[in-house]
């Protein structure tokens, strides 16, 4: 800890990861009226430097260590025991890298069509909020970041989305805020109760998790208050209804970010805060959460099968995929949790890529109705090929990244949650069904008149997609370096849980 602190004194990389996008956002907003041609460049420089920082973090991260690295802690609101406390471990590392990489890709790859200034400014603010959520080790700071994310996302959906955008944006905002309302009360209560054990008022996650002993009853209530916020964010059935609307109405960039990293704030929150702070209560709530997760898997898959709108289909597939992640998270075995963390990243990559591809289809055809699309494979074979790879990753084909995570989750969950896992496995088959069926309808067959002019993938789109495909293939074939970094932290967490629940 002390060594890490000293290192940070020389270069506060985690703080920079949060601050860099904010600076970028401010610069973009200020450039706005005077130098419109520099806006995109400024946004790009900011996001690429953030990406570079996150990759540097990945390189400098000591694999095999379980604790928090690069910890940065400064007092913020001394009266309330709140500090600017950031740290990274194996659980958050890849989510941070994903956040770092995904934003520049979205910024360079997708044009907002209008109001560039505010679009990029909101985008960068969003990145800062997401980064902050994944890095925070202080309950208050986490809540601030978790909430602040809503504002840019609200404006991105509302300002650049499709027909029902205002409705979808408002629903998104209110649902998530309602969840967080409970969490705020829970956080304050956690701190108030922990104060009796710790003797000081502190929002420090590590101190509370390691030092406080909550009574069984209190811990359950507190866990529930956190769980509601995260269940809405994930989203877990039956809190998911905002997601199809938000995803479908959001602009492509917004959907990619929403699926890629925003939903992970929920699953990550479960792991980092729910399970870490209240292991006993998490164990107690397991059956209910397993059930909801499995319902989500099956329900998401069936709903996805029934969709006419390609984007809505992908949105519902997210509900199913996140069910797997929650199942793995709460199985609380080393394999399952490692798989869940891995799957958080995988889902971000593959679903993000799917949304990009659907966005490209919409750009060309101005429709996302599956019935309007036909035979695209014939006119755009490369596009179809890329779509195939991404889709198969989402299905969980061995050799691609989706398989690794899903497999680990199922293996690890089988012990602690046998019958739930059995049912969940059906979801794997259903995933193959709805995606392949959709693929068949959209890409196979003879193109009709409207589809025969479907443009092949452009160089810019190709370069963009190649990043995703590379991640999908490489981490699918050789996931070891990733797992090596995730596993020690997961093992430590499991040990903490087992120590507390004995």
């Amino acid at each position: 800890m002390i060594a890490a602190n000293l290192e940070v004194l020389s270069f506060p990389i985690l703080t920079l990861l949060v601050v860099m996008p904010v600076i970028g956002s401010v610069v973009v907003a200020l450039l706005g009226s005077s130098r419109p041609e520099w806006i995109k460049l400024a946004a790009l420089i900011s996001s690429v430097s953030t990406a570079a920082l996150s990759l540097w973090l990945l390189a400098a991260f000591k694999s095999g260590e379980a604790g928090f690295q690069f910890v940065s802690q400064h007092l913020w609101i001394s009266q309330w025991g709140i500090s600017w406390h950031l740290g990274v471990d194996g659980i958050s590392l890849f989510l941070i890298v994903l956040t770092g990489i995904l934003f520049p890709l979205v910024i360079v790859g997708i044009d907002p069509h209008h109001n560039e200034t505010s679009y990029f400014a909101w985008m960068l603010l969003l990145q800062a909020g997401v980064m902050g959520s994944f890095l925070s080790l202080d309950l208050f700071l986490f809540f601030v970041m978790f909430e602040i994310v809503l504002v840019p996302m609200y404006f991105l959906i509302g300002g650049w989305g499709y027909d029902q955008r205002v409705y979808a944006a408002t629903k998104f905002f209110l649902y998530t805020m309602a969840g967080s309302a409970f969490m705020l009360v829970g956080i304050i209560a956690t701190v108030a109760l922990a104060q009796r054990d710790l003797g000081v008022v502190t929002f420090d996650l590590v101190k509370i998790a390691e030092g406080a002993k909550f009574s069984t009853n209190a811990a359950r209530w507190l866990f529930l208050s956190f769980a509601i916020a995260f269940a809405v964010k994930v989203p877990l059935f039956p809190f998911h209804t905002w997601l199809p609307d938000a995803h479908t109405q959001a602009p492509t960039g917004g959907s990619v970010i929403l699926a890629g990293v925003l939903l992970k704030m929920g699953t990550y929150g479960f792991l980092r805060f729910g399970v870490y702070l209240f292991p006993q209560a998490a164990m107690w709530a397991r059956p209910a959460i397993f059930t909801l997760a499995v319902i989500g898997i099956i329900y998401g898959a069936i709903a996805a099968t029934m969709q006419h709108d390609l984007k809505r289909l992908v949105a519902y597939s997210s509900v199913a995929h996140l069910g797997f992640i929650v199942l793995g998270t709460f199985a609380l075995s080393s394999q399952a949790v490692t798989g869940a963390v891995m799957q958080m990243v995988n889902h971000g990559v593959s679903t993000g890529a799917l949304f990009l591809l659907v966005g490209m289809i919409y750009e060309r055809r101005h429709t996302r109705e599956i019935s309007e699309l036909r035979g695209i494979q014939h006119v755009a074979p490369i596009f179809a090929g890329v779509f195939t790879v991404v889709m198969l990753s989402s299905v969980g084909l061995p050799g691609l990244n989706g398989f690794v995570g899903e497999f680990l989750i199922l293996i690890g969950s089988f012990g602690p949650a046998r019958w739930w896992t059995v049912v969940a496995t059906v979801g794997v088959i259903l995933a193959a069904l709805y995606l392949l069926w959709a693929y068949q309808r959209v890409f196979h067959g003879e193109p009709d008149e409207a589809n025969s002019t479907f443009k092949e993938i452009t160089v810019r789109e190709g370069l963009l997609m190649s990043v995703f495909v590379a991640i999908i293939v490489v981490s699918g074939i050789y996931p070891k370096p990733i797992l090596d970094r995730i596993e020690p932290s997961v093992a430590a967490l499991i040990e903490h849980v087992e120590g507390q629940t004995k």
Partner: protein, 504 residues
């Protein structure tokens, strides 16, 4: 006869400690006397005099603050007024509201082409009433302050002689306000009957002294209840809120800003002081009442706000729900025995200060927008397209609205966090959850205004011009909102030893 008169000794008055009041009084008299004896002053000068007076009162209050920090709180004028951090902070909030509202009013009246000194004089007399209320340690003195404030507000509400709505608002406010005062006064009388004194500190002593005797509290509790009803009208708690939306909508917008900020702060702080100082021994009795009022106020305020289509009415209901939030803090302090009323009081003080800045800023923007629209309308439609025509103004209002919704990194979040923390730390989870849920419902209201500004296209776009003084007022409000939002320590440092109320 003569002997008796010679025996009467007036209380010693520490003139410096009441200097903010004197300055406000001087400013009001200056405006009224000189203003009526001289020809029309140049544009903006009346407002400036008022603003300078308020600033002087703020500066003097800061000196008083430092005095209290070094020598502790004390009672003034023979125990009629209390001089403590709580009172001084509330006075500063009230004077700051006068300052900002004067700036906005100056532009508003210039736009209406009827700049006149009375309005500012009334702001200052209202502020005198408010400052007396927040410092009153005697129910009679409190009543005097309340009436001074209320009478000024009735006139202010009706001050736009060209619009019938303004007249209606004034009359409505006057009649219902009169009722409220009667309730309050009757409550004071019964309390006096039960305790034999009207001094808050002495009431507490009297109630504590016969604690062991089998007690018959009927008279006292009826008195306290009636006072609560009177306060309920003044701070528009549900079910005493019916006048608020009409009066807020009908009054000239700067006046609405003043009522919602200074008026409300004064009444709320006085309410809190009375209950915390005089009746801590009966907290078990009034705590549940505050709980119910707080929950009702929060729920009705936020739910009914949702269905409004006029921005001023929306903000009226939102101000009702803010009052509910402040009562959450009071309910929290009812769980602790005096004098350690703890976090609740601090949270309330922080809330009222931040709320005052917030609400003045919000209504200032509404004033500016309404004046630019053709018929002075404040419907949601009037806000359409501002995001395109005046993005800076729209951004300012967005920040203020997000703060009202309690989004982090704004002052509104700090305020709400404080009261919820106070509630949770005494185990009042139910009220904390109700408050947070209502904050979410209220957020929908603010989102609707934001949607109008940013995401809807104007039917007949008008460019909103923001005059200089209004710009300054809005800029100050937004800066307070953001600076305290990011660095709450600045304010929390000040309020750290606020719970020491003056008692001797």
């Amino acid at each position: 006869m003569n002997d008796q008169i010679s025996e009467f000794a007036g209380p010693t008055i520490d003139w410096f400690s009441v200097s903010p009041l004197l300055v406000l009084l001087f400013g009001a008299l200056l405006l009224l006397l000189v203003g009526s004896l001289t020809p029309q002053w140049r544009r903006g000068w009346y407002g400036l005099v008022s603003a300078v007076t308020a600033s002087a009162a703020i500066v003097l209050s800061i000196f008083l603050w430092r005095d209290i920090s070094s020598s502790g709180p004390k009672l003034l004028v023979g125990g009629a007024l209390a001089l403590d951090h709580f009172a001084v902070l509330a006075s500063i909030a009230i004077c700051a509201a006068v300052l900002l509202v004067s700036l906005v009013t100056s532009d508003y009246l210039a736009g209406e082409k009827s700049d006149m000194p009375e309005i500012y004089a009334l702001y200052l007399t209202a502020a005198i009433g408010g400052v007396v209320m927040v410092a009153a340690n005697d129910l009679i003195v409190l009543f005097l302050g309340l009436e001074t404030l209320s009478l000024s507000l009735y006139l202010l509400a009706a001050s736009n002689r060209k619009r019938a709505e303004s007249q209606e608002a004034g009359l409505k406010y006057f009649i219902l306000g009169g009722f409220a005062s009667a309730f309050f006064l009757y409550g004071v009388a019964l309390t006096y009957g039960a305790t034999g004194t009207t001094r808050l500190v002495d009431i507490n002593l009297a109630l504590n002294s016969y604690i062991t005797v089998p007690r018959n509290d009927t008279l006292l509790l009826v008195g306290v209840g009636l006072m609560l009803v009177g306060f309920g009208f003044k701070v528009s708690l549900v079910p005493f809120q019916a006048w608020t939306p009409d009066v807020y909508q009908g009054s000239p917008t700067p006046v609405t800003a003043f009522m919602a900020s200074a008026g409300k702060v004064a009444a709320l702080v006085a309410l809190v002081r009375v209950f915390v100082t005089a009746f801590p021994s009966r907290a078990d009795d009034w705590g549940p009442a505050i709980f119910v009022l707080s929950a009702l106020t929060l729920i009705v305020g936020s739910v009914v706000a949702v269905v409004q289509t006029d921005v001023k009415r929306m903000l009226a209901y939102s101000s009702i729900s803010h009052a509910g939030f402040i009562l959450v803090g009071l309910e929290a302090s009812s769980h602790r025995s005096s004098p350690d009323v703890g976090d609740g009081l601090t949270a309330i003080a922080v809330y009222v200060v931040l709320y005052a800045a917030l609400v003045v800023g919000t209504f200032s923007v509404v004033t500016v927008v309404a004046q630019s629209s053709t018929d002075g309308a404040t419907s949601l439609d009037a806000f359409k397209g501002i995001g395109k025509s005046n993005p800076v103004l729209a951004l300012a209002l967005t920040v203020l609205l997000l703060a009202q919704a309690g989004v982090p990194l704004t002052s509104g979040f700090v305020a709400k966090f404080g009261v919820v923390q106070a509630a949770v730390s005494v185990g009042s989870y139910k009220l904390a959850v109700i408050a947070m849920i209502c904050a979410v419902i209220a957020a929908f209201v603010y989102l609707r205004i934001m949607v109008s500004m940013w995401l809807s296209d104007a039917t007949n776009p008008v460019s909103v011009k923001v005059p200089l003084f209004s710009t300054i007022a809005i800029a100050i409000a937004v800066s307070v909102t953001l600076v305290i939002g990011v660095l709450p320590s600045l304010l929390l440092d000040l309020t750290s030893n606020l719970t020491q109320l003056a008692s001797k």
